[in-house]
């Protein structure tokens, strides 16, 4: 067994509690609990009819405006911030772009990793069984729950509704990387471990599309690729700046066809090897990405996903950093910065916990760090073969 010791990020105030607190989500769920509900629909929204052309008149007035989900998310987040629920004010964290070719973004965040206790994480098993004794999202404090996200015939927002029977929940991350940092937990009470299937990924894509903002990205980290909690979840936050990976050159690796608009390309000239899936059809992306990811899970290859462009672009990064770390193949200098290269870091957004690391951060340092993430050429070729078969 291969394992590494690292300081896990605290995403909930209840994360270290042994016992189940009375006002945690699980308890509230059992006793009955009201939550705001945002309903999205897979059908064309009446709001969109208005945008198709001035000649078209919508059949009924729109129930909610475009990107209402964004407004909802931001307003709830801001409310929690004013209630002091976050461990620190993330807007007081300094950021800058590192000069060079890629435009990596470095942030000084001293508050994120205050917890000193190291935890052991197994890195050679991407699929692990759900362990109810460990922390999971039913144990979060009820105040950390923002709203539930559900599918319906009509899009709509309901301020106070009883919690659904199998809700998809949006929570705050009490140690945010950026403003609006939330966790999306599909079918929370199904207690699914961290692994991907097309439906859950499709939910994340719809979530991204509904927020309808190019600054809002959603990420996924598999076990072994720096997921902290083995309970199915995605993370998301706003950053009004391009992620370096979004600007990277790409070259197509799948064949075009008349039936499908799905483009799969390989990153060219980027420090991490990866592929990107692009399509206007969310179903198509979800099915294709999930199928590859399931294959990677079976082969024990950890990976990260970064969903951009309102759900129409998904980056997939198979990685082996944690494995190298477990085998003592990563330099101490890199380990000392305690940067865990998960989806955000690989995308080019690096959070540094020590002032000296931030002040001396350079593109060379980030490139060196990310170079340890990539699979070897033959291993990456195997992954491409999986994708293109």
């Amino acid at each position: 067994m291969l394992a590494i010791k690292r300081v896990p990020t605290v995403v909930s105030v209840n994360q270290d509690c042994g016992s189940v607190s009375r006002d945690c989500l699980q308890s509230c769920f059992l006793t009955g609990f009201d939550l705001p509900l945002f309903k999205y629909t897979k059908k064309m929204k009446t709001t969109e009819l208005q945008l198709l052309g001035d000649e078209e008149v919508p059949s009924s007035p729109p129930t909610i405006e475009r990107s209402f989900l964004g407004t909802l998310l931001l307003s709830k987040w801001e409310e929690r911030a004013s209630q002091g629920l976050f461990r620190y004010d993330v807007t007081a964290c300094e950021s800058r772009v590192l000069s060079g070719n890629y435009g990596f973004i470095a942030q000084l965040n001293e508050g994120r990793h205050l917890k000193k206790r190291l935890t052991e994480f197994r890195v050679d098993q991407v699929l692990q069984e759900f362990d109810p004794k460990k922390f999971n999202f039913s144990k979060v404090n009820r105040n950390e729950v923002l709203f539930q996200f559900g599918e319906g015939e009509e899009a709509g927002y309901y301020d106070i509704t009883p919690i659904l029977s199998s809700p998809d929940i949006v929570l705050i991350n009490v140690s945010p990387i950026e403003y609006g940092h939330v966790l999306l937990v599909p079918r929370l009470f199904d207690f699914v471990p961290q692994r991907l299937c097309a439906n859950d990924l499709l939910l994340a894509l719809y979530f991204t599309a509904e927020v309808d903002c190019p600054y809002f990205r959603v990420g996924y980290n598999s076990l072994g690729a720096f997921a902290t909690i083995n309970h199915l979840h995605f993370q998301a936050y706003y950053l009004a700046y391009p992620f370096p990976v979004e600007c990277a050159s790409i070259t197509r690796i799948n064949k075009g066809s008349l039936k499908s608009s799905l483009r799969i390309s390989e990153l060219v000239d980027y420090p991490v090897k990866g592929v990107v899936y692009e399509s206007m059809d969310l179903n198509e992306i979800a099915i294709s990405v999930a199928s590859t990811c399931q294959e990677l899970e079976l082969r024990n290859i950890p990976f990260n996903l970064l969903i951009c462009d309102c759900g129409t672009r998904v980056f997939l990064f198979p990685q082996c950093f944690a494995r190298k770390q477990a085998l003592h193949q990563v330099s101490q200098k890199v380990l000392d910065t305690q940067v865990n290269p998960a989806a955000w870091e690989i995308g080019g957004h690096i959070v540094l916990k020590r002032k000296e690391d931030y002040e001396h951060a350079t593109e060379e340092f980030v490139t060196a760090l990310l170079a340890e993430v990539s699979l070897s050429d033959p291993d990456f070729q195997d992954v491409k073969n999986i994708i293109c078969k």
Binding site: T41, K42, K43, M44, K45, Q50, L51, L52, D54, E65, G70, T71, L72, L73, L74, S75, K76, W77, E78, S82, T91, A92, C93, E94, V97, S99, G100, N101, Y102, G103, I105, D159, E178, Y179, G180, A209, C213, Y215, Y238, A240, Y241, P242, E246, C247, S249, I250, T251, R252, K255, G256, S257, L258, S261, M280, D281, L282, N283, C310, G311, T312
Partner: protein, 394 residues
């Protein structure tokens, strides 16, 4: 974006104007009048180039001027393009990388020359040598407009009905365009120096015209002192503007570091709510919204909150330009930029009447949601000097 059975419909052949631009004719003409003399449209008309002017300070960075050549090249009418973002020129096979390049140049407020696949209204693809250049205000250093010059590289599109090619249209051998190809950067094309020079010349001519016709002074380059780090008060970078103009609510940003805390940015919705134009509000303290029956108590509360760097929500009687009073639920909050320090104070307005509890709840959500969006925008790293080496596709 529209969702239909899991597919996102792109706004391709149908020109989509932001719903916030319903008074687009007025807004668009104001954009030009603000910076140039009234004769500007006639002056620009004299040039036979294909070009547009876009205003990054308006929602979705819309076109505010389009030359006849541009309209002919693309097949749209003037009314169809004014007030709309240029993305209607993009289509299924437009290289995303090229779009990203243009976006970066806009954010970094610099020139960009790039080959990009565009589409006419009829859906016909053509290769376009696109040259983008910012127009800077000499007063406050902001980018007032972006000039976009198009040089089509396909004789099919360029040829006019009488068979003569005008302006910058070049005659190339007819290209065979494949429906599906693997790499749309189209290695078949080789841009000559001549092409690039023609594009440069066009941009230069348009910029010269704008400079000649400007009221307060514009130029293709920032003032020397700016480049040396002397930033004029009230300067707002394009990248911040692009993020702020996405926010579809009434709000202002004021600068607490400048004397009398003037407004440095006002949203379109604020201008519509209050009836003022941008020129009438930028640089002034918000107190011009107060009037004869405005209570002094909430203003005191506001003042003390600001001096303590706190947020606060007050209900205050304000007046529109036409003297019409309205109740304003005003929420203010300090907003930090990428340095982590307070850069602005945001003021978010919701016009309220005798509102029900549900309306209050909704108004509150809009306020906080708007504040969140402002925090995201202001927190973004503002690019001044170019930090990334630009990769112009040749």
């Amino acid at each position: 974006m529209a969702l239909q059975n899991g597919s996102l419909l792109s706004s391709d052949r149908k020109c989509v104007r932001s719903p916030r631009m319903k008074n687009h004719k007025l807004i668009v003409s104001q954009s030009l009048i603000r910076s140039y003399r009234a004769s500007i449209q006639d002056e620009l008309q004299k040039h036979a180039y294909n070009f547009v002017l876009c205003d990054p300070g308006l929602p979705d960075h819309p076109i505010v001027y389009a030359s006849d050549g541009f309209l002919e090249m693309t097949g749209y009418s003037r009314d169809e393009v004014l007030g709309r973002n240029c993305r209607f020129l993009q289509g299924r096979d437009t290289d995303k990388r090229a779009i990203v390049e243009i976006r970066e140049a806009i954010r970094e407020e610099r020139d960009c020359q790039i080959k990009i696949l565009n589409y006419t209204k009829a859906g016909k693809p053509f290769w376009n040598l696109f040259h983008l250049a910012p127009v800077f205000s000499q007063q406050d250093g902001r980018v007032v407009h972006f000039v976009g010059v198009q040089l089509p590289i396909s004789s099919k599109v360029a040829a006019r009905k009488d068979g003569h090619l005008t302006g910058l249209e070049l005659s190339f051998d007819e290209l065979e365009f494949e429906e599906h190809f693997d790499n749309p950067s189209c290695k078949n094309y080789h841009l000559s120096e001549e092409d690039k020079q023609r594009a440069f010349a066009a941009v230069k001519a348009v910029l010269q015209e704008l400079a000649n016709s400007s009221c307060k002074g514009v130029s293709s380059m920032r003032s020397k002192s700016f480049s040396e780090g002397v930033i004029p008060p009230g300067f707002v970078a394009t990248s911040l503007l692009l993020a702020l103009t996405r926010i579809p609510h009434s709000f202002v940003l004021t600068d607490p570091h400048l004397p009398d805390m003037p407004i440095v940015h006002a949203s379109l919705e604020f201008l519509e709510l209050t009836g003022y134009t941008r020129e009438e509000v930028i640089g002034r303290n918000c107190r011009f919204l107060q009037g004869p029956d405005t209570d002094l108590a909430p203003i005191e509360e506001l003042r003390s909150s600001i001096s303590e760097g706190q947020t606060c929500t007050i209900r205050i009687l304000n007046y529109r330009k036409n003297k019409e009073p309205f109740w304003n639920s005003l929420h203010i909050s300090p907003v930090r930029n990428s340095s982590g320090k307070v850069a602005y104070y945001a003021g978010i307005q919701v016009a309220v009447s005798h509102s029900s509890e549900e309306d209050e709840g909704r108004a509150r959500m809009q306020q906080l949601g708007t504040l969140g969006a402002i925090k995201v925008a202001v927190r973004s790293i503002q690019t001044g000097p170019v930090l990334r080496k630009s990769k112009t596709i040749s």
